[in-house]
Symmetry: C2
Subunit: 208 residues, 2 copies
Amino acid sequence: MAGKKGAGVLELAVLGLLHEAPMHGYELRKRLNALLGMFRAFSYGSLYPCLKQLLAKGLITEDRPEDRDGTTAALPLQSRRSKIVYKLTAEGKERLQDLLTEAGPASWEDEGFGVHFAFFSHTRADVRLRILEGRRSRLEERLESVRSALARTRERVDTYTLELQNHGLESVEREVRWLNELIGRERAEQEQARTSNTTQDMPRETGR
Amino acid sequence: MAGKKGAGVLELAVLGLLHEAPMHGYELRKRLNALLGMFRAFSYGSLYPCLKQLLAKGLITEDRPEDRDGTTAALPLQSRRSKIVYKLTAEGKERLQDLLTEAGPASWEDEGFGVHFAFFSHTRADVRLRILEGRRSRLEERLESVRSALARTRERVDTYTLELQNHGLESVEREVRWLNELIGRERAEQEQARTSNTTQDMPRETGR
DNA sequence: GTTAGCATGTAAGGAGTTACATGATTTT
DNA sequence: AAAATCATGTAACTCCTTACATGCTAAC
C-alpha cells in the first residue's frame, strides 16, 4: 500500500509556505515562526531533515546555484555553501491539497489546527466549515469534562489551582466564541454562494 | 555529578498530585487531566512508565495489596491484578520541592508553566514571582517578534492568516494581562508580609 | 579584522503517543 | 451474562529538540 504516512505539522506548513513562494531553509523557518509564532516554534534540527524528506518524496525540488560557469575548474566544486532554494513540484501541490482537504482530528486538534487554519484560503469552503465545527466540538468536550471535574471537587479549594482552571476555561470559552463567529461567517458565505450560483469558492473534486 | 536529568512535565505533575494524597495510576491520570485538561492530556502509555521510573529512583513507593493472608496457597499469587497505590517518599518530597524551587525556562515555557503554576501553593513566594515575571517576559518577546513580523509583511493580506495572527495576539495579550494582575497581587502580599514580619508564606531554605 | 547574523546540516536522544494486550469490578 | 468502566502494562514509533559542527557575508 502506498499509504503516505507520517505527516506532522511541519510538512504541511512547509508545503503551504512554499506554495506561496520558493524559499530557502533559513527564510522558511523565519516565515514559519512568524506565522505560527504564537502557538509553536520550529528549530533547524527539524526543518532541514523535513526538507530532505520532502525532497526524497519528490514533493519539492532544490535549486542549488551549481556554480554554472565552466571556467573556474580549480576551486572546490562541492564545497560552495550557499542558499538552496526549494520549490514545490506538481506532486507537492497535490499533496498539499490532499492535506488541506482532509477534515479529521489532525486538522482540529491543538497541534494541527493553527497550521490548517493558516492555509484556509487554499481549502475548500465545505472542508473549512467541517474543520471549524470539529474544533469547536473538541473544545466543548474539553469544557464539559473540566467543568464537571470542577463541580465534583468543590471542596478542594487551592487558590492557584482554581485560578489556573478558571483562566483555562475562559481561554477556551473565548476560542469557542471566536469559532462561533467564524462559523457564522462561513455559513453566510456559503449561503450567498448557493443562491447566486456561479462557482464555488475553491476547486471541488466531485459535483456531488 | 548526580545531576538528575530528564524531568518532563509528568514527573512534576505526578509528584505534585501524590503529595496531596496517595493514589493509584488510573485515578492519577484522571486527576491529572482534570487539573491540566485545558492545556494537555496524558495517556497511560506515558503515565505508567513514568511511575515505574519514579519508583526506581526511590521517589515513590508502591503499595500492592500483596494478598497478605497465608491461607489461600492455591490461587495464583502473582496474577492478582488490583490497584497499586503510590505514595511519595521523603526523597520524593525533596525532589518535588527542588522542582518547584527552580525558576527557569522549564517553569515558564508553554509546556511547564501550567504544572508549575498548579502547585504554586507549595512554592516559595519569591520563586512564584520570578516564574510569573519570567513567563510574562517570554510572552512579551513573542508578542514583539510576531508584531514586528506583521508590520514588515503589511502587503500580504491573506484574510485567514491575518485572522489567526490576530486571535493569537489577543490570546497572548490576554494572558499577559492576567499575569500582570497575578504579579500585582503577589507583590502586594510580599509587601504585606514584609511589613508585618513574622514568617514568610512558604518554607525557605536560606535566610539570605 | 572581528563580531554578528545568515545559512546548512547531523547525531543523539527526550518526551510522549498509539495500538495493543490483559484482567477485575461494577452496572444493566 | 453482557457491557461498561476500572485498572495495569508494553513495544514500536513519531515528532521534535539540543547540542554540535561548519562556512559564508555584511557591518562595525
